[in-house]
């Protein structure tokens, strides 16, 4: 199949949608499909292997422009020049279908929806409704939404938004990730010294030895935070507020707190700030982490980082955000044998214990208590269960489900019978057909 995938956000910076698009494109290429990705900007240094990974063809839609939208700043492409880029990409690509991500944003995904004359599959990533602009934009936007042949939502919450605000149904297929990348070599309680290949990874692997409890990396137990340090919604401030209580429950020789991510953080005694780290370093860090902490405050649409932590064998302590609760309190889990086949899923009873500890949002004291308990009580059995559950989100499980949706969309709307719509036709009221 020739698949054209459109990512509305630039690869210049890391983001959930971008990672999803890259992961999916690489899997499709390895599975023998012709996958092309259109996105703003150029891929940053951490993602340059996207250009050479398999036969994924990457096309830039031009530099993204920062613009206010929906209360934040979005970096997107719009306007006649971008629309022309999109049309050219579609013409050259000769795709069997296009897969758009977050199409109801002022971006190339929406422009591709407008100009596409092949079946369209759309994936909705966010669970926050954007009703203001949609209400006001009215009929023109509705026409674009009608062009979507099949909708995918990454979570039940995202699906609800699609149903309520767009009036369309969507299949729930979760975000995928590369399970083996995070799980290889990481067995709770063991540490493979050969996996740290760069100087930085080596220092990530080894925390200084201290008395008392022993962490997976051989030194002190490690609590890790990953995320933008200066973005309030990532919740670093909650962790920092919890530090005194953590240090009361565990002496500094008994625990190491590591913080990694872009942005600047206040230096506080007792935490190790790593700043921005590469993907390989992230894997090494998670594999040497005993307790992964996710104190996010709001607007997390999926929380794939929790799955990455679980795959790497870390215990998880997270805020009780809907997305995190969906992941840590799943309604189905793999059968105890660890089968990855979806038909091997068993219904968990409601009383089954969550795969990680959940704490109220913004509650520093509860966070501290949960972290201290998680460090003192490692619970390897729970971590094995979590790891088996995370395996079900590997691309080898998720991507085939997406391909089924592709086939369904193709079967329902053969290209030959589609009318050509696009800039000349769809938005002009009263224009001749």
């Amino acid at each position: 199949m020739r698949v054209g995938i459109v990512c509305p956000y630039s690869f210049d910076r890391p983001g959930g949608v971008q990672n999803h698009v890259l992961g999916l494109a690489r899997w499709l290429a390895r599975a023998g499909h012709a996958a092309s990705v259109l996105a703003p900007g150029e891929p940053g240094p951490g993602l340059t292997d996207a250009r050479t990974s398999g036969s994924v063809k990457f096309t830039s839609a031009g530099q993204a422009v920062p613009v206010p939208y929906n209360g934040s700043i979005a970096r997107v492409n719009f306007g006649p020049l971008s629309a022309a880029h999109v049309r050219r990409w579609l013409q050259v690509g000769q795709f069997d279908l296009v897969h758009l991500h977050e199409p109801i944003t002022p971006s190339i995904a929406l422009l591709a929806l407008w100009a596409a004359d092949v079946p369209v599959v759309a994936t909705f990533h966010t669970a926050t409704p954007r009703s203001r602009s949609m209400q006001v934009a009215g009929g023109a936007l509705r026409a674009a939404i009608e062009k979507i042949d099949a909708g995918i939502a990454v979570s039940e919450s995202a699906r609800r938004v699609v149903v309520q605000h767009l009036g369309r149904d969507a299949v729930v297929i979760p975000n995928g990730f590369d399970f083996d990348e995070f799980a290889d070599g990481a067995v709770p309680g063991e540490w493979d010294e050969t996996t740290g290949s760069t100087g930085v990874s080596q220092s990530l692997a080894h925390s200084s030895r201290g008395g008392g409890l022993r962490g997976r990396a051989g030194g002190r137990p490690r609590i890790t935070f990953l995320g933008r340090l200066d973005e309030p919604r990532k919740g670093l401030d909650v962790l920092l507020a919890a530090l005194p209580a953590i240090q009361a429950g565990l002496s500094p020789s008994e625990v190491e707190v590591v913080v990694a991510g872009q942005g600047s953080a206040p230096t506080m005694p007792g935490i190790r700030v790593l700043g921005e780290i590469s993907d390989a370093e992230k894997v090494a860090l998670l594999q040497s982490t005993d307790v992964f902490v996710a104190p996010h405050r709001e607007r997390e649409s999926f929380g794939i980082v929790l799955l990455e932590a679980m795959a790497a064998g870390a215990a998880v302590v997270a805020s009780a955000l809907p997305a995190f609760m969906d992941l840590l309190r799943p309604s189905t889990e793999p059968a105890p044998s660890g089968a990855t086949d979806p038909s091997g899923l068993t219904e968990s009873s409601g009383a089954r214990e969550p795969l990680g500890r959940l704490v109220p949002v913004g509650d520093a004291d509860a966070l501290a208590a949960a972290l201290v308990e998680a460090v003192r009580l490692p619970r390897p059995e729970l971590r094995r269960r979590a790891r088996a559950y995370a395996r079900g989100f590997d691309w080898d499980v998720v991507a085939p489900a997406i391909v089924s949706v592709y086939r369904a969309a193709l079967a329902a709307a053969p290209p030959a019978t589609r009318t050509v719509t696009g800039p000349r036709r769809s938005l002009r009221r009263g224009a001749a057909g």
Binding site: I73, V76, V136, A137
Partner: protein, 167 residues
């Protein structure tokens, strides 16, 4: 000097001071009124700009991504009961979007809004200067009237106020 002459002098001084205070109070009153009228005009001009933007965006002459941007910014600016800081931010955002999305029909409304803003801020500067004068402050002639505030909007095309990024 005799007692009569002292009293006479005191009366004259009091009359002069009284006259000056009353003159200042009148000027203050006029300054405040001018600010109010100019604010009403600015408010109306901003509303018209946002409405024009909305209409132009929905007319079908621009691509849907640009349309969404304009609709979002215009709707935010038309939101009722915004406090001054929020209003400034919303109108600045709309200015930014209008600088990036070419909508010729909105140009005249944007120009009128900018002119109204400059007139308003000019009146505010005058009123504040008057309010902060020595005599006015000493005799508390402003009473309960709050100090007027200039309406700051980003110059065309500038992004203001750091906010979270998406994408």
């Amino acid at each position: 000097m005799s007692a009569v002459e002292i009293v006479g002098l005191a009366v004259i001084v009091l009359l002069v001071v009284g006259w000056r205070l009353s003159w200042l109070a009148t000027r203050l009153d006029r300054a405040h009124t001018r600010v109010e009228r100019r604010w009403a005009a600015l408010d109306a001009a901003l509303v018209r700009r946002a409405q024009a933007a909305l209409e132009a965006a929905r007319s079908g002459s621009i691509d849907p991504a640009s349309m969404l941007l304009v609709c979002d910014a215009a709707a935010a600016a038309l939101e009722p009961d915004l406090d001054p800081a929020a209003r400034e931010q919303a109108e600045s955002d709309l200015s930014r979007v209008l600088a990036l999305v070419s909508l010729p029909a909105v140009e005249p409304y944007a120009e009128r809004a900018e002119l109204a803003r400059r007139l308003h801020n000019d009146a505010v500067v005058s009123a504040v200067r008057l309010r902060r004068g020595r005599t006015v402050t000493l005799f508390r002639l402003t009473g309960h009237a709050t100090e007027p505030r200039a309406f700051e909007m980003a110059a065309k095309g500038q992004l203001t106020w750091p906010r979270g990024f998406v994408g």
